[in-house]
Symmetry: C2
Subunit: 199 residues, 2 copies
């Protein structure tokens, strides 16, 4: 005999399938939901279906979009000679929050990862090559995470882009602002040393 009513167990199962949520955490979320009004729960459910059905990948940058061409790609004042390559849509959001970068983006939807069996064919690299190949870009900025898979991906893309006449750069990695040398891990210090600049 299961402890909770069947519909509750089923909803817990769904939540427990989300990344980073265990069965106990899922049960907690479900109990919270069961205390909300019918209306509120129904709105949540509808938002879920609507987000899934009304979201496409922008045909240019591959970011999540409500239309075929996303607002960033169709924006008339972005710098169309600059392309920033990121792993995930949330990376676009993080960079946009800085309000400094004015170029375009390309979302890979993943990184190359030998340990997780992700090959170059599993990310949107073909689309990137097509975009760069059709010309117009002066510089491609690789903004993958500073970890093993992110480095592998950046290196692979840099090498793949070599035949194209385009400058390829990578974000600087080093001590985070406000961080302490004392508390930084060894890899970060190595990166910071490696990327030191004359003052």
């Amino acid at each position: 005999m299961s402890i909770y009513p069947k519909p509750v167990e089923e909803l817990i199962d769904h939540f427990a399938r989300l990344p980073g949520i265990g069965r106990k955490g899922a049960a907690r979320l479900v109990f919270h939901l069961l205390e909300q009004s019918d209306e509120e729960v129904r709105e949540f459910a509808e938002a879920m279906v609507s987000a899934r059905l009304n979201t496409v990948f922008c045909r240019e940058c591959q970011n999540l979009s409500g239309e075929e061409l996303c607002p960033l790609c169709s924006h008339t004042e972005r710098d169309r000679t600059l392309l920033c390559v990121v792993a995930e849509p949330r990376d676009v959001a993080a960079i946009e929050r800085c309000r400094e970068y004015k170029g375009l983006y390309h979302v890979l939807h993943g990184v190359i990862s030998p340990t997780r069996q992700k090959s170059p064919a599993d990310i949107r690299l073909k689309e990137l090559l097509e975009r760069v190949g059709s010309g117009g870009f002066n510089e491609v900025i690789l903004a993958t995470n500073p970890d093993t898979d992110g480095d592998t991906t950046a290196l692979y893309i840099a090498r793949t882009l070599r035949p194209y006449e385009v400058k390829v750069s990578r974000l600087a990695y080093g001590l985070p602002m406000g961080g302490h040398v004392e508390h930084a891990d060894e890899l970060t210090i190595l990166r910071a040393l490696d990327g030191r600049r004359e003052v």
Copy 2:
């Protein structure tokens, strides 16, 4: 201009309203969902509505139930002289997992908390008094958490039950099995000292 398409932002809002989930965590969950099939997302949404609509509170123990009387209350082999009072449905699940307790339960759906403005009227105490008042129970076991609110609630209920002819007990609190005295916090050690038993 928001970074994500509107339906995505709206779904993130819904997830971010769940306890313990911030906006970044919510975005992570949403991106995961957007990678699932339409079918899967629709099932999740339907499970949500179904859990909300098909779950009631058992008219006896107030636990979540698919029927008017929950499987535990309608079970013919439970000990109907023993009543275990818990704060939340998940506490019933935790105790049931031990497969030892064979009595009935009463779910308060909360605890009395002066700091969080929860009064005795905000928990299902009236229902508890009615059950105990209608007789048949030899013992009421108070199984609220060993924290300030849990203690307050247990004390309040114990006092309220005094006029009834029923034994009132509380779970033992002390060092968890496998725990180390060295690593236990002071309150736990105090509780363990306080609850010491002759051997």
